[in-house]
């Protein structure tokens, strides 16, 4: 295990919620119960969850049932975990815009969704964020595996990575970069709730510090 994230997984004093959650999220668009996070039990130190198990639990707790994606090596265990869980409907798409369109339609029909992609895929999305998600106030959750930094071997990925945060900032949409396992549940859980309550897209960028990233 050569990467910081894996070391963190073994060592960290984790205060993540348990896998199934102790507090269910109420139904309806309003989303969160104040104080729900404080009521969760701390995890046992001996049984740390992986980043993808944390993601699956947080998505489920927030009733995000529809997952669309364009594949990414780093996201493989998350995609596999979601596909193996009958709670979720998981759809592979040919292009990230299409994945966002499906989730947008589903949300208008009453079903919450999230889109999984890598950095270069995000770079295809400014038009659909600016002309669909933001003006129509549609709370899609975008989960991006970050390529292009912390050991990137492909210069194309390294350059396109530089465009991601300026695009998100210029569209004034909420985004967070997740680097620590012990913060992931809080950031994902709260970002989904905020997206739903404020009817705005939210983007979570999963740093190689969290996932281990991809190296040659």
């Amino acid at each position: 295990m050569a990467y910081p994230a894996h070391g963190l997984m073994r060592r960290a004093r984790l205060h993540c919620p348990p896998f199934e959650g102790t507090k269910s999220v109420p139904t309806g668009a309003a989303g969160s119960t104040p104080g729900a996070l404080q009521e969760r039990r701390p995890m046992a130190e001996t049984a740390p969850l992986s980043w993808f198990d944390i993601a699956i639990a947080a998505l489920k707790r927030n009733e995000v049932k529809l997952i669309t994606y364009v594949p990414d090596r780093v996201l493989t265990p998350l995609i596999a975990g979601l596909a193996a869980d009958p709670y979720f409907e998981v759809i592979g798409t040919t292009r990230e815009e299409e994945a966002v369109g499906i989730v947008a339609g589903a949300w208008m029909g009453g079903l919450r969704g999230a889109v999984l992609m890598q950095t270069s895929g995000f770079a295809t999305l400014p038009n659909v964020i600016a002309s669909l998600l933001v003006p129509y106030q549609i709370p899609a959750v975008l989960i991006v595996s970050e390529r292009g930094t912390l050991g990137e071997f492909n210069i194309g990925q390294a350059l396109v990575c530089r465009t991601m945060r300026p695009v998100l900032d210029s569209l004034a949409t909420e985004h967070h970069t997740v680097t620590r396992l012990d913060e992931f549940d809080f950031i994902l859980d709260r970002s989904i709730k905020q997206a739903v309550m404020t009817q705005s897209p939210a983007t979570l960028i999963l740093s190689p510090l969290l996932t281990g990233g991809k190296v040659l």
């Binding site: 529809l66 409907e89 759809i91 592979g92 798409t93 040919t94 292009r95 815009e97 299409e98 994945a99 966002v100 369109g101 499906i102 989730v103 947008a104 339609g105 589903a106 949300w107 208008m108 029909g109 009453g110 079903l111 969704g113 038009n127 659909v128 600016a130 002309s131 669909l132 003006p135 129509y136 106030q137 549609i138």
Partner: protein, 209 residues
């Protein structure tokens, strides 16, 4: 005088998008959702008669069918119709493969093929040359893909598709007449109206009490 184009061995009439939009709306009797792509496609749907189950796109070219698929997944008991122009669909052809692979059958895709980017100055699309949208859809795996041969045939095919239990793509050769209206450009109102039409939001939020 009606113009006819022969596609393979099949003669098809060149029809009018507004006329067909009106015929479509008249066939909707069960609150079917309609997702209309950008530009003249949704302008003519708007002009054909407003209904709460219509969604009008103001951007995101090519996403009418992905959005329609999302609605169809969220509401499997409702029939959903996507309306898209040939230029828009050519931008997002991959969605035909995604829809073909998906189990949802409560989806009808209608393509207005005027062989041009009409709204930007009528530059020719690939369908003005050798590309055949119905062949593309069949190749992607959408078995029920066909040309409407006349307005009456369009009505018959739409009726069958809505009742039929199998996802269907209906392509129509259309003329270059301008649209008969302009959609009211307020995306939040469009989205809220649509969600009320789908029963996701209450129309009485601001009146009940």
């Amino acid at each position: 005088m009606t113009q006819t184009i022969t596609i393979g061995n099949l003669p098809v009439q060149v029809m009018n998008r507004f006329d067909l939009s009106q015929r479509l709306v008249k066939l909707l009797r069960n609150d079917e959702a309609v997702v209309a792509g950008i530009g003249n496609t949704n302008f003519d749907l708007w002009a054909a008669g407003r209904r709460p189950q219509n969604f009008y796109m103001l951007g995101s070219m090519g996403l009418a069918f992905p959005i329609a698929l999302g609605v169809a997944i969220a509401q499997p008991k409702r029939h959903v119709i996507g309306l898209e122009g040939d230029g828009s669909l050519l931008m997002q052809l991959g969605v035909l493969a995604t829809i073909a692979a998906h189990k949802a059958q409560n989806l009808t895709m209608i393509v207005w093929d005027n062989q041009s980017y009409q709204i930007t100055g009528s530059q020719p699309t690939a369908t003005a040359g050798v590309t055949d949208i119905v062949d593309v859809a069949r190749g992607c795996g959408i078995k029920q893909s066909l040309w409407a041969r006349s307005p009456e045939d369009f009505e018959a095919q739409v009726t069958k598709a809505i009742a039929g239990g199998e996802k269907t793509l209906i392509a129509c050769k259309t003329d270059n007449q301008p649209p008969q209206g302009q959609t009211h450009r307020d995306p939040v109102l469009i989205r809220e109206n649509f969600m009320q039409g789908l029963g996701v939001r209450s129309a009485k939020t601001f009146t009940a009490g």
